[in-house]
Symmetry: C2
Subunit: 142 residues, 2 copies
DNA sequence: TAAACTAGTCAGAAAGACTGACTAATTATG
DNA sequence: CATAATTAGTCAGTCTTTCTGACTAGTTTA
């Protein structure tokens, strides 16, 4: 199979999926049960706490959806809510100790996957791939 | 923002999402109304016809899910079914004329996006990125 | 202070995916 | 060759994720 023949969508998607599968497998192995949608929101939770509305905006879902997902994270013990001292309408969400443990598992697995990929195609080429992707992302962001 | 700081997941996901958004926008502009899930299955339909079970396997969904999605594609006029001459249990699915038109819109938009990306980071670097991604994908496939 | 805005939730609906149970046709086996 | 096992596909029911619309309750602004 010639990579020139593969469309760029597949070239990007395939490694992404592989990484995602590895991350969720690692989480499951460590006993963390978290859905992809919850994870996507959780990634955007700031250490000092985030508002549901901010999370919704950053994850590009409606406030209602974010509200449901945050509730799920709280119910599962990965996040906790506390009132926003500056605005009585709002509450803030932050990672719980359990949530931080889960995040550590994710980071460790990403590092492991990156090490494997670097070994697979060579550290020079892998670093170059990262740089080139970074350059593309920068251009896409404006 | 330093690209070295971004995790590889984001580096892959961001361009992928951008491409996908462009494709669905182009389809919508051209008057094609197709859902992402339907599109994912449709991409795997062989010119000579595919079985629902094969599509399910390749798209990694259950036969039931594939069955529903194929029905949607047929109802929307993008695909058509005909009996498998070799197996009376099975029927084959292939793209209709309308489906082929939609596929052409997708191909054109992908080409346009690739041309833009190539211009954005330079053709040499873009070609290199493609090659490096291809190399990574080859390794991931075994 | 009243009007306008913002934070967040509730209710209801749809899409997409799942499991389980089923029918009908085909292949394998004793 | 008859019956058991397998395979193709659908139906029914459920769960998750997401949406829109309507609402409550604080906050800001005019």
């Amino acid at each position: 199979m010639d990579s020139e023949e593969l469309n760029i969508g597949l070239l990007l998607r395939f490694p992404y999926r592989a990484l995602e599968d590895r991350i969720f497998a690692a989480l499951a192995r460590a006993g963390f049960d978290i859905t992809p949608a919850q994870a996507r929101l959780f990634r955007r939770v700031a250490p000092e706490g985030s508002r549901v509305t901010d999370l919704a905006e950053r994850a590009r879902v409606t406030k209602q959806t974010a509200s449901v997902l945050v509730q799920g994270l709280v119910d599962a013990g990965y996040a906790e809510r506390f009132p926003d001292p500056k605005d009585a309408r709002a509450s803030l969400v932050r990672a719980s100790a359990l949530g931080l443990q889960a995040a550590a598992v994710v980071d460790a697995e990403i590092a492991r996957v990156e090490a494997e990929w670097s070994r697979a195609i060579g550290p020079t080429r892998y670093a170059r791939l990262r740089r080139d992707l970074g350059e593309l992302v920068r251009h896409l962001q404006g």
